[in-house]
Symmetry: C2
Subunit: 300 residues, 2 copies
């Protein structure tokens, strides 16, 4: 299971107590930070997200509302004595910006920060539980989206039922992978008799900032949760296109074409105080839509 | 009259809802931003400080808790269509950091940003109402304090009482400067008869981050309000010295030696949740002390 917590859902200018973009995707073991607008570390404290759990940070592009909170977060992690490695996946130009800031402050981080420059579509992270792929979105400057795919989880040993069979513990790992067990006498014990299926592997597609772009459809097809920006309400297609952003109907249309399970919309323009219309409009095209609201944890 | 609003009073790591350092000094006409920690633009919105009124920004040093909110503020001012000039007084290295960030985002500001690198003790701003002088403080990296001195305000014409005299309006400006008027017949009309004294010119000394340093005393002698950091409570002199910070008793001792009218203390370490003891300890040396509390406007 994945859980996505929204720390900021606003576009460029913070307004109506809405913070700029930041999200945390959590599994039972890991936490991944996606974009890091100004104030992210304060939002993490407010919503009880542990800074220490973050192992990888993904920055979609170098508009300030997606990364101006990063230097402060990196600093605070160091001041708090972090020792575990941190991996930063971001546009190449960020490396020098951070280095200059560190140099100006005579800062030596307490942990190792590995910088990974984003390129074209490629797998950028892969551990035993998750793989992350980056893909291009169309925005005013270079911008990347991220596709998170949980790996298929191993089946669980059914501790009660396995007692009835004489299966050596050394075989348990193969049981978890789905194998049947054959006894010395040749009797087959079907895997399902002694294991429990793991929850299905889930997927999350984050489309960052983007103009309406149908080539995204194949990149995030059929994900369990899709985040697509909706800076503007419908009727603002021209303004959205001019600024390389999207409207409610455009986001919902991508979700529908990609047959995703659920759509989450955010990156609301500071000109809107109320958000109800965003939901109404998007739902008219794709019913299973929710607003990305700060502090809310969306279970995937 | 000067009015100082505290937007952030915490040291490096934001904690207990306390934001890092930022202050706004306002006269009737102008607003000056002093340091700009992460979240300053959100705090300005919260405490109804108009971004558009800020004409000059002063950054004491390049530890992140004193400037990581600046790029976001500069961006937002531009997105809101600011056209008036903005002057930034800061350590030289900040210019390149900001330029890199602007370049990475393909940002062209809507207004002119003038960068003024801080040097040694010198007057760095001077208009008809205020002069600002920078001075060095002793910190881990180059750091500056700022002394704000209001200019002597012109006297006000007493509209009611001046009616009783035949003084030409062309002489009013000289009356405001304090001159008496001599009639054609040689009668002297004393200035005090037809003008009202302006409020006294006030002064504010901002000592930024600093180790205990008695050379500061002459730099801010007898100011109406002194801000001196107190990262730690008494008994932490060694830790304070090692980190180039000050304790309550040290801040109060500087205030006493400099015979300032009032002391404001802030930059509290994230290890303290409650602040009462800071006040008690400082007051034991210098009675007229107040805590720098967020959102509070201190009249000078």
């Amino acid at each position: 299971m994945l859980a996505l917590t929204i720390l900021g859902n606003n576009s460029a200018i913070p307004a109506f107590d809405r913070f700029p973009t930041a999200q945390v995707l959590q599994t039972q073991e890991d936490a991944y930070l996606i974009d890091c607008g100004e104030g992210t570390q304060m939002q993490m404290a407010k919503y009880k997200i542990k800074r220490s759990k973050i192992s990888h940070i993904f920055i979609s592009h170098l508009h300030g509302d997606h990364y101006f909170g990063l230097p402060g977060l990196l600093n605070s992690m160091s001041l708090l004595g972090r020792t575990q490695d941190l991996h930063l996946h971001a546009p190449a130009a960020l490396e020098q910006i951070i280095q200059l800031q560190m140099d100006a402050a005579s800062t030596v981080l307490s942990y190792k920060l590995y910088f990974h420059a984003l390129g074209d579509e490629q797998e950028i992270m892969n551990n035993s539980r998750m793989s992350v792929t980056s893909f291009r979105t169309q925005h005013r400057i270079d911008c990347w989206g991220f596709l998170f795919r949980e790996k298929k989880n191993p089946r669980k040993i059914d501790a009660e039922r396995i007692k009835g069979f004489d299966i050596p513990a050394s075989f348990y790992e193969r049981l978890q992978k789905g194998e049947d067990y054959t006894t010395k006498k040749g009797t087959i014990i079907p895997n399902e008799e002694v294991t429990i299926a793991a929850p299905a592997a889930k997927s999350y597609g984050y489309c960052a900032d983007t103009i309406y772009d149908e080539t995204l459809v194949e990149k995030i097809r059929a994900v369990d949760l899709l985040y697509h920006e909706t800076t503007y309400l419908k009727g603002n297609e021209q303004k959205a296109a001019a600024r390389f952003h999207s409207t409610t109907l455009q986001a919902a249309s991508i979700a529908e074409k990609a047959a995703v399970k659920k759509l989450l919309i955010g990156h609301f323009s500071a000109k809107y105080e109320l958000l109800d219309e965003f939901l109404t409009e998007a739902c008219s095209v794709f019913a299973n839509t929710e607003l990305a609201l700060e502090g809310i944890c969306y279970k995937i």
